[in-house]
Subunit: 204 residues, 2 copies
Amino acid sequence: MPILGKTRKDVIKEFRTAELLEAARRLFAEKGFHSTTVEDIAAAAGVAKGTVYLYYRSKQEVYWAALERGITELENQIQTRLEAEQTPEAKVRAFIAIKIRYFETNRDFFRIYFSELGSGLSHPAQMPAQIEQMYLQQARILEAVLQQGIQGKTIREIRADTAAVAISDLIRGIIVQRLLGWSTKDVESDISFVFDLVWRGVAA
Amino acid sequence: MPILGKTRKDVIKEFRTAELLEAARRLFAEKGFHSTTVEDIAAAAGVAKGTVYLYYRSKQEVYWAALERGITELENQIQTRLEAEQTPEAKVRAFIAIKIRYFETNRDFFRIYFSELGSGLSHPAQMPAQIEQMYLQQARILEAVLQQGIQGKTIREIRADTAAVAISDLIRGIIVQRLLGWSTKDVESDISFVFDLVWRGVAA
DNA sequence: CGGTAAAATGACCGATGGGTCATTTTACTA
DNA sequence: TAGTAAAATGACCCATCGGTCATTTTACCG
């Protein structure tokens, strides 16, 4: 008998799901997909292995759910923050800043995010369309901003879709450098560097 | 008794090594590291599983050898081609063109190249220093070119190391787009796009 | 040829770990 | 508190696969 739209089952499910995905995210990031066992995840979440299978049909499903969770959170941050900015220039800068900062404080998540893109490359058919769409979604948000700038003449005539992906690549590159310890600069400095490079490349 | 500097053993080793690594590259690219079995590689190379272990101590070693082989080939192409160009501008363009073209014709190899970088991220300690160095080496070549341009005043004062990595990231991004079928443009068009963006970003 | 050493083979071993399900525990209800 | 259904458990099953090594095949030489 549902109360407030949530049955008892829903509440339990929500709780377990959160526990499991948090543990899964950390472990997958730390040891990679194959080296992480379902037993590991269960233990870290404080449940037995069988319980995992009450909520997810397979290890792979747990992985995708953990990935999806993080992407959604990031996307929400991007959406919210961009709405607060007025000019395309400010929006582009905000986009860069949010992504770099998000992964700076969620380093473990980036490891999943990044390597899934890698394995998606190797096995396109296996990556759920939903996940692929979520990767693309971020670039689309940026693309819309660029398009806006082009119409407003602050950005030169450029292929907005390709440019959006290119900017995303630059951002990803900086994050990788930071994770590998190849970047010694502080976050703000790296954000400025990327923005500077990008803006020179696209400004009218 | 060595003749011409190569013993019988060397010749056999060279032949088997080439066969194995070629098969390994294709399989690892197609199915990923974990889904590829040593049995698979052996079969594809036309030998029995045990034979693989006469030349490599483990599956992981085969993988690294296959990766190293491709990187070396690519690096040689870069070195050779850049020497033929005079100006930093031409060198930067050549660098971009070679990498995109190399991976365009060695799509399978890129899948290994890319995902190893991904797993290296997750498990820094596991990636042999030698492989890490080879990744960095390419950026260093480009960095030297940028440095040269800065001295010659054709490139503005910029952090050459960071810019070099950024350019590499842009290139990688374009290749990923092509592999995923998200880029509909022809190769030359993509090369020009990247170069254009880069040059606007770094030119004096 | 016949002998021998290098090369190759593939059956086999042992460990691992995803997934299952009979049993137990918990939570709720009357 | 007794009864029951949902939730959780973890011992177990079994397919997979990396790596080994006793045996066989090949290549070379006197």
